[in-house]
Structures are given as C-alpha cells and as structure tokens.
Amino acid sequence: MRIKRFFQSLNHRHYICFAVLVASVLCSVFVFPWASQRLGESFRDFGTSCAWYYSFLVNKTPKCEATVTGLTSTPLTMPWNLPNTWEEFKVAWKEYWALIFTRDNFSEYMSHVADVLLVICKTLLIVMPVFAIGIVVRSLNADVTNNDYNTDSKSLTRWKRLCGKYYQPFKRWCLDSVQFLKDNSYWYKLCLFVWVYNFNVLSIVVEALAFYLYFIVVFSFRDIYRQIFKLFVDLSSMLDFIPGVLWVCFALWLINRIRRSIGYKRLNGFENKNREFLGDRPIVTLWCGTMGTGKTTAITSAGISTEIIFRDKAFELLLETDLKFPFFPWINFENELKKAISRHSVYNLATCRRFTSSKAKAFAKRPCKQRIFMYDYERYGLTYDNKLEVVDIWKALEDYAQLYFIYTVESSLIISNYSVRTDNVKMDEGNFPLWNTDLFEKEPALVQAYSRHSHILDQDTLRLTKTLIADNMYADSFEFGVVLITEIGKERGNMLENKVFKKSDSEANPVNDQFNSTLKMIRHLGSVCNYCFVRILTDEQRPSSWGADAKDLADVVYIQSKSATGLAMPFFALEDLLLSWFHSKFSWSYSDYRYRRGDNTLPMYLYHGTASKLHSYYNRTYNVFGFSRWQVQVVNGMNESDVKTAEFFQMVYKDYKDRFVSDAFSDIWRVRSLRSLYGIEDLPEYQHTRATVDEFRKQNSYFMVDLLSTVFNGTDETPGLRP
C-alpha cells in the first residue's frame, strides 16, 4: 500500500525519464551491439600498452605484443573510405591533389552545387504562395481605417484561445521539465553515460591513453595515422546514427559558442589596452571634449578599470610581501586584522599602521611566538634583505595590513560627485578572499547581488585648510580611492571666475581651501609600498575652465573622434543584414498600420511579435559585444608641446550596463521644471517668417534690449524691457 502511494506521489517526469533511460539501454543492445566489444578491445590495448610502458621503465623487453596499433575486429567501417594505412594514405594524398585541379572534378562539383540550388529553388517555390497570400490580404486591407481601440479581430481571439489551451501549457511543461532535470540531474547524467558508451566515446578515451603510453616507448609518428583512422572508425556509429539536421543544429550551436568566445576575448583585449593607457597617466587626469562626446562615459569607464587595477595591484604587492617571509602564518595575522576591522578599530590606512605598531610594541616588550601570530621567528628570522634595505618583519606586516585593507574593502573604491555602479564580486570561503573582477561574462544573478554604488564625494575631504562645513566629520576621511569629478570647472572655476574670492575670506572658497595643495600632496596620503592608490579623474568641456595651477598637475585627454559602434563578435554579418532589412520593412508597415487602425489583427500580432523577438536579439548582441574605438590626444598639462595620440575603447556592456546616467544632474532640473506652470505648447509662436518688434521684445534678450532702446531712443515704444 505504501509502495503504491509512493509511486502515485512520484512526479510523472520520473516515468518519462525512466522510459528514456530504458530506451537508451535497449539501443545499446540492439542498435550499438559492438560498443561493448570495442570497449573490451580498448581495455585490452590499454593493458598491453601499460605492459610496454613498464618494460620500458625497467629497461626490459616487453613480453606481450602491443595491440593498440591493431584494427578492430568489429564490423565498424571507416567513413568516407579513407585509406587504412599510412602508405595507402600517402598514395591517396597524391591522387587527391592530382584530382582537385581537374576540369572534370570541378564540373562534377558544380553539378552538385546546382542540385543543392535546385532543392533551394523548389523550397522557395513551395513557400512563395504563402507570401503571395499575405501580400494579397495586406493589399485587400490596405484601405481599412478604424478607431476600434484595442479590439481583437475574430481570428486573433481564436488564435489567443488556441495558444492559451495548447501552447502556453506546453511551454510551461517544458520549462518545468528543464527545472526537474536540474533538480534530478542523475537522470540526464545516467542517459549521458549510456550514450557516451553507445557512441564509443569511452573506448576513444581509453584508446587515447593506451596510445599515449605506447608512443612514449616507440616514439613513432607513423603510428599516429592509425590512431586517427581508428578514431574515425569509432566515431562512425555516432556519425551514422545522428541525423543530418541535428548535425547542422550542432554546427550552428558550435559556431555560436566559438564566435561568442572570440567576442569576449576581444573585449577583454580592449579592456587590457585601456588599462595600459590608464597606467601611463599621472594621478590627475582631465578629460575634455565638446558636449555629448562621452567625457563622463570616459571617466566612468576609466574609474571602473582603475578600481580593478588597484585591487590587482594590492594583490600583487600582498604576494610580494608574503614571499619575503614565506613561513609566516599570514592567515593568523589576517584573522586578527579582520577582527579589528569588524570592531571598527581598524578603518583606514593610518589605523592599520597603528594596529601593527601596537603589536610590535607588545612583542618588543616580551618576545614570544604568541605575540607574533605564532610565527617561528627563532627558526626563520625577523628580517629580509632585498639588497636595497634590510626589511624588518614589522614593517612588512605594516605594509601587508594596509594592502590587505585596500584589497578587502567590500564597498566600491570609487568616490564621485555622481552615482556609479560597480559589480565586482568578493569570493570568500573564510580564508583569503579573491575578487571576481570580470566585466563581461559574470552571471546576471551575481551582478544583481553584488552591485554597489560609489561613495558620495564630500568635497570637504579634498580641502586642506578651510571646509564648507565647520567641523565636518568626514573632512579628514579621504586616504585612497578613485575620485571621479564631472564638470570640475564648474566646481573649481578658473582664475577669472575666482577673482571675486579672496584668500582672507572667512568662509571656504576655491581660492582659500587649498584644494590644489591636496592634489599636489596626495601621493603622500595614499601610497603603500611606493605605489599610490589614488587617482583623480575629472572632465570638463575646455581645460581652461579649470584653474591653470590645478591643470598643470594633470594630463589633459582630448576626445578627438569616435568610430561607429562595431561588434567584437565575428560572423554576425549575415544576421546583421537580414535583421536590419526585416526591421526596416516592419517599421514601415507597422507605422502605417498604427496610423490607420486602432484594432488588433492576427497577421500584425504575429508580425509584431516576430519583429520584437528579432529586434531584441539584435539589440542584445550589440549591447553585449558592441564597442567603439576612440582617438584621443594626450597633452601634458605642464608642457603643452608634449602631445601624444592614443586609442581608448568604449565597450557598451562595460560602460552602459546601468553604470551611470549621462544626465546625472537631471533631478535638479526636474524640480525646476515642476516649479513652472508652462510647457512648450504654452510658449508664444512667431506669426510670420519675419518677426515683429513685439515678438522681438518677448525674447528678453540683452542684444534686443540694447538695439530697441537705441532705435527707439528710450521712448515709450519699448515698455517693460529691462534697463
């Protein structure tokens, strides 16, 4: 009774999987009867090869014959009639090259191509009437105009009912089955194993191992041909069994995999070139270009790359410090530091130094293993000589603590005056954490879960003397990180704009806050192991908008030109052509349909759905693999004759994946616009192409005020104008 209830409660998919498994096993017996014999032969070959290998190692003559070079005794045959032996192959090779350039062979091939073309033409002729019916239906409905808003036609209602009854449940069942197979992976693993056996894949693997051992002994390249021959013989059962359509599907899937992998490799290559470019820049960089050239995109992209560079550099320096004292129990030190960080007694680089110095003092007072993280200092020593200096272990620990702190900071290292999203994933199993800083292939679920936003830049943290807020609690907090400041000129101004400010003013202003001194001294603030973990990336339309004193510190990068968006993924030209053609056709007929009709019909429903799917495929491909090549000119802020040209790559997926918004300050303008009671429809229009004096008055322009008051000599003709 209990067993019956158990079977009744089982998901019906278990029975389907069981049936598939039984069918697969039956195939092993009836369709692939030679698979077991081939497997036996391959193990025999492996055994004899092992014997040969052992004899070779102990320098003895093998007592048995190596069978790996022998042919199978099963009736499996070579596909395409390839020659059996290397000698026969050499003869066939000569014949092949003699045949390939003959007229008869070429004519034969052309007739073969013609046969294929004939099949294609016949298929087109069969399909053509369907299109013809579509064209006739469209032309019959060409003049239909209605305002039946969102009313479904009869055929569409019927179609939706059919889909609801059959397609939707089937789709749901398929998705549930996929989830079922994921939850009960043993079913497909078992089936996979049976088919691997059926297709002789197990035999191929064992034969390869057998030949490897045999090859070490005989070192005969001639025998490799026999193995290739045997490989094709083993594969013949799979080649014969799987239908051509499936092979075509497999080929398309494989091409897609290969081209995507090439695309990702190219994108990573571009990113590495960007990092090389950023590595050559000084601490402060000013990106310039006219409106809409992508200055903010550039500093955001550079900021994201620089954050990764900092993490990588910290890791590299951690490893270097580790190698100075290879037998130091670093994990104990890290655990102590982690506890201090969680207690918030360590929260910046200065407190890292304080942490190690207090430990050093305690050790100096009473040296013992317990006070140096269980390090066996008597055995391994407390110093390291790098031929430049003798490094004390406590100095190494001080560096290690600071680097570890920079490396393990969970929030973003970016501090900016607009919001930037980062999605580096910290992987931690409780030992040494690792960062997944991949920009292109991370799983979307990980991106969602690990997204962080940049810190709000409190400009007081960069002011050395006076701050805008007296006793600002964050004023001294800045030590290291990537600072992004968009529209720096509007914040700092240049000499002309700052003339109104004085050094003696009691309140902070761009002249007396010593911001520039901070930039000049910043290397002293955020350097560990002689590497500065600070970068300041700014943008402005013209370099002269920022004061010369600050600009002299920076490299000015001018964005000169941008290429059209290309695709890093190859072999997309045919899809690109077809999808663009289809989209142009659709957009024309759809806009016409929307103009004339308010109802929904079945043909447009299907057309619209197909166009949406294809367009989204096209868009997604460009969103993932799209890139643009920027030509930039780098000018040294101190010496404007020092000009270099370089390339910078903008990658759509990296830079626009919800990273930032190009209208970062839009919320301020939104509030301003909400204050207004008027919109564009309420603004007065010109009555003719020649404006009247009244219309000029409405412009409230300085020029018009001057002109009209001059012409009318300040009389009543110009009432209501500003003096």
Binding site: W80, N81, A92, E95, Y96, L99, I100, N105, F106, E108, Y109, H112, V113, A564, F571, A573, L574, D576, L577, S580
Partner: protein, 31 residues
C-alpha cells in the same frame, strides 16, 4: 549604408570560403 556594404562583402567572402572548403571535402569523396 557603409556598414551594409561591408556586411554584404563579409557574407560574400564567407560564402566563398564555405564553397572552397566544401569543394575540398567533395573531392575526398571523388577519390
């Protein structure tokens, strides 16, 4: 337009390479 011409050229090149490879494979069967 520039991209379209480029794509057409790429497709033609792809077709040529495909036919060439197919010709080589076809000749194997003729031996």
């Amino acid at each position: 337009m520039k991209n379209t011409v480029k794509n057409i050229l790429k497709v033609l090149l792809g077709l040529f390479v495909f036919l060439l490879v197919d010709y080589f494979i076809f000749t194997v069967g003729q031996l």
